[in-house]
Amino acid sequence: MYEFVRGPLALISFAIFFIGIIVRVVWYVKGLDWRLDRVAYLEKADYGIRGALKSIFHWILPLNHTTANHPIFMGATYLFHICLLTAPLLLVAHVMLIEESWGISWPTIPDTIADYMTLAVIAAGGFLFARRLVLPYVKILTTGSDFLVLFIALAPFITGFIAYHQLMGYKFWLIVHILCGEIMLIAIPFTKLSHFVLFFCSRAQIGMDYGIKRGGQKGRGVAW
């Protein structure tokens, strides 16, 4: 079982993940329409690129009014996303497996830090979960799929924590952990998790919109 999830299944899920996100981006860009969207994407590409970069920059870093207005939520989401991306990518064990399979490797972070990051992801995830149940303005928006998607994202961390610390049935939990990771990878192109790439597309688009049409050529465009 381990050999299967670590071998062919991992390969399949990576393939689905990479092809999937590429297809998502290609579809997105192909579907942009200067007339329907009313943005001169190509004619004013210079203003567009500036606006797009500005829009992404202000949100990849907490340099926006939303963070100032909602520091707790935005703080939790920044923490959630940073840890969620960094910990698995720079984990020693993951990099070793990649090196073993594909012969490439990159710097890693100490396991202790990855461990805290994992706990941060779980804690922040719990916070995101709780506010969906508690806050009326979030509750009204929440659907079952929001919980499912959050669960898909959290599962690899919860199971990873159990497996790493060998809290119980090590090999079993290791397999579950890998499976959960693979489910997440596969889910990314098909669910709201597609914001993994579509966040950048959407932010770039609105940045271009403001950069080209709504003020970018005269004022500063929107000061996010």
Binding site: F73, Y137, K139, L198, K213
Partner: protein, 468 residues
Amino acid sequence: MAEEAKEQIVAPLVTRVPIKTKEELDTLLADRQGRGYYKELDAFPVDTEALKKTLEATFKSRLKTWLKICAHCGMCADACHFYIANDNDPEQVPSYKIQSTLGELVKKKGNVDNAFMQYCMDTAWGKCTCCNRCGMYCPHGIDMGAMMSYLRGLCFSQGFVPYELKIGSGMHWVYKAQMDVTVQDFVETCEWMAEEYEDDWPGLNIPVDKENADILYTINAREPKHYPEDIAEAAILFHLTGENWTVPSEGWEETSLVMFAGDWAGCKMQVESVFEAMERLKPKRMVVTECGHAHRATVTEGPYWAGIKSGDTPVPTQHYVEWLLEVLENGKLKLDPSKKIKEPVTLQDPCNYVRNAGLAEVTRKIMPYIAEDFREMAQNREQNFCCSGGGGMNALGRYREQRNIGLRVKRDQILATGAKFVVSACHNCWDALRDLEEEYKIGMKWSFLKPIILKMVIVPDHLKPKAE
């Protein structure tokens, strides 16, 4: 009762196409407050096939992705003045307003009923002014105002549009203006105003259809219809600054109730009438009056409706405040500093040319010329709240109550500044402020820039009336 007789009207009031004849328009106008219209709408069927086709043709990448990746995080909630004004009512969360309308519509592939379309209409026009504020606070950059505007288009194509905007759209088709102002009416108003003020301003002239002028000035139909002195004030300021300017006899209407209505064909038709005036008269630039949505419709969105790939107007265009700042800075217009407003003054940033056209700093640079004690609202510039009268809402009887509730946010913003004088270079904001005072009586004054400036101008000797 008089109303009963009017309900005898036989012609259908509700249609899926714009009104294009004076007769149809008059029939609709005769239906006071749209009572018959809304009654007819209650039984109006949804053309689900057409709705499905429209979705297939126009619901693409940008909108699709916006709908898909909305994380349901709720950061848009308190960005909306309706959410705040309605005591944080969850049903006023912008994302909810979109998900429960456009989201469902897409999910059901247009297979919806009359009640659903009415819910869409009541949401698109009664709970949103398309001010685009929420989009600024969305981490994913989802512009819910733009989605709401798209929804309005879908509603209009199905005949589900508020009564006043069905009329507004019809006005544009019949008069190429949002009100029944004909070319003759307009030209005569200009002549009248020039005559009226000539004694005070010798040589005052409102040149109509002058070719190759430096400035082509275009306006809001309300001005010739209800506030002709606004045209006179503009003329006096152009006169004082020695500008070589003109107004077009046709294509003078900047505004676009068709945009508020979601009548995209009407938008194209209307804006092309202005662009034709540009091409006919070949001015160096165009200046638009103190109106927000007019600038949005003609300058920001207009070129796209007209199919201009660069997204630029045929000649460069400026909002009135840009021209005003220019002549204040280059000294063509001199103001008497001793006449500055002494009491505290605040500024209402119109969404359409501030958030949606980047002119926040322009009005701020004008303020020191006219006010001694300028006070910012707590949320200002691009962050400012809608006056609550945007997106056509001022005009809609059906949603007057909602509009008035929405005004509370603006009221509280103004009260917090301590100012009792609000400068507003936008017709919609101006109206909303007027209604705000009428509704809540906070004892404030509000004004366009032109009348304020005119009270302070230093008139060069050669332009003063000769003493008899």
